[in-house]
């Protein structure tokens, strides 16, 4: 068979790498301080006095413009990047660990565990952002706690609530592998449960686990975006009462997108488009990576239809 270049994999991997780099160095390369604000000022342009007031459109000074309150968009994005990338990664990892623990344990049982299947089934129809929204609403808006606690809480809640779906796919795969001949052979040779899990099942799950990790990251970013639409941001929401406005404390990308979504109706669309593009880049690169990985692993099982 002619081998084709797996574009999704390479482009996805490159974009993800870029994202990780931005996540690490972002706050250090930001052009302005986080609290730098463009104020209303008069400037003489060609002999005439012009009032310059934020929001400023994209220019040499502000590559992506400023928001309505005069904050530099690029600076906000770069400061938010670590949260976007590493909170997502942390949640995905915790989910994977919990899911592996439950999935492997339930999967190797001799009888199907009905109570767990019932939970899995019921939970799969629940849009996760609803329980997360309601659980965190009381804590996250005008928080009294430090941001780090809130981020940790967010990671914990989202990881635990999302774990059943990860556990489900690991369990199904485990059950498939458990039925194979070589596991039967190992059992008849006297292999214990741990031996079977670690010597036979986990090595076969490796590819699957990588795919699950990346797909979960996409799902988690989507979730953060959805929560942002309802003004619940990672690391807390600052709510001002008069007028009612919501600001992201960490400037995490999904949060910026959520808090600036109102500008979609204004003439200052860059305020809305900048976080949108950043967020789509983040989510798109992981989706591409997941697609590329899946294609790479699935090539072996490819079938062509007759009609």
């Amino acid at each position: 068979m002619q081998k084709r270049m797996n574009w999704s994999l390479w482009i996805g991997a490159f974009l993800v790498l870029l994202l990780l780099i931005v996540g690490v160095i972002g706050p250090y390369v930001a052009p302005y301080e986080l609290d730098f604000q463009e104020k209303l000022r008069n400037e003489v342009v060609g002999g005439k006095t012009v009032i310059i007031s934020p929001p400023l459109p994209p220019s040499d000074e502000h590559a992506f413009g400023t928001d309505k309150w005069g904050y530099d968009m690029l600076t906000l994005l770069l400061h938010g990047a670590p949260y976007t990338v590493f909170v997502t990664l942390a949640i995905a990892l915790v989910r994977l660990v919990i899911g592996m623990g439950i999935g492997l344990y339930i999967g190797v049982q001799d009888k199907p565990q009905r109570w767990w299947l019932a939970i899995e089934n019921a939970w799969s129809y629940m849009p996760i952002f609803i329980p997360v929204y309601f659980l965190l609403k009381g804590v996250s808006i005008n928080p009294l706690m430090p941001t780090s606690t809130l981020v940790a809480l967010f990671i914990g809640v989202v990881a635990v609530l999302g774990a059943p779906s990860v556990a489900s796919s690991i369990r199904q795969k485990t059950e498939q592998i458990k039925e194979t001949q070589y596991v039967l052979a190992a059992t008849s040779l006297g292999a214990g449960r741990e031996q079977i899990i670690f010597r036979h099942i986990v090595p076969h799950l490796k590819e699957q686990l990588i795919i699950i990790l990346v797909t979960e990251m996409v799902a988690i970013m989507t979730l953060m975006g959805l929560l942002g639409m309802f003004d619940l941001f990672v690391g807390g929401t600052k709510m001002t009462m008069d007028p009612v406005l919501y600001h992201s404390i960490t400037h995490e990308w999904a949060g910026l997108l959520g808090s600036y979504r109102g500008f979609v109706y204004s003439n200052y669309t860059w305020i809305f488009l900048t976080p949108l593009v950043a967020f789509v880049w983040a989510i798109g690169s992981f989706t591409l990576l997941a697609k590329g990985l899946r294609e790479k692993f699935e090539q072996t099982y490819h079938r062509t239809p007759f009609i």
Partner: protein, 287 residues
Amino acid sequence: MSYVKQLLGMFFLVIAVCGGPFMLYTVKEEIVFAPENVVVHTVYLIQQIAGGSLGTYYLGENERSIAEDIVPFAISTFELLFSSVLIAVVASLVFGLFLQRFRIVRHLQKGMNLFATIPDFILILVSILAAIGFYKMTNIRIITLSPTSDSANSWFPMTLLAIGPTIFLMKVISLKYTQIGGEDYIKTALAKGMGVWHVLIHHVYKNIKPFLLADLKKTIAITVANLFIVEYLLNVVGLTRFIFSKSGAYQFNAAVMGLLGIIFLSILVYLLIRVILYLFERAVVYK
């Protein structure tokens, strides 16, 4: 009996979810986890229901009765939900199954898959942007955000809501199509000289149907998740009003009623789609 059990389970799940803000809150920089608070509110809710009222909620400054508003809200949510799921099912059956063998449709699907890389809520946001741009250029209005306006239209939110489930279901069906298309019985049927449409209806469709039904629930779940976004962002007056208040305090009664309403609507939509599929089979497959 098991249905009653499931309904009761659903009721308590909704209570548990809506009780979130009472369960987890902060007092002086400390997180308090107090699930018992939910019980108090639940008892109050059940008392109100037993008293023949569903309680009241605040819409802006006005206190309104839930019972009065829930029916018109539910009807508009139902219209949105049902038509979107129907669009998704019909489109994915037509393009994922019956027309899949044409190259142009497969290219269309590739385009859709590319589209699907972007999460649904971003597609919704971008299409709002596109609709505004379109209006600025051509003066043709496709989006109306004021729900009381005369030109309020329902097809725009409907189409937006249909995007997510259609992408999902079409992917599932065309994947299954590829798998089933490679089976030996298809080869046999074709070798015997049966027509392509005959094979599609009697061999492929019948074998895809279990997967379609299994994923129908998931499709509806995806539609419901997007429903909140569409109703919230496009100002559709529906059950989402009860659940997410745009400003103001959290309202337990309204949220419980809204979520329960949406669950019942999704069950209704599921049953209706099953009926439509049954009629389709009676008319086309087993005529």
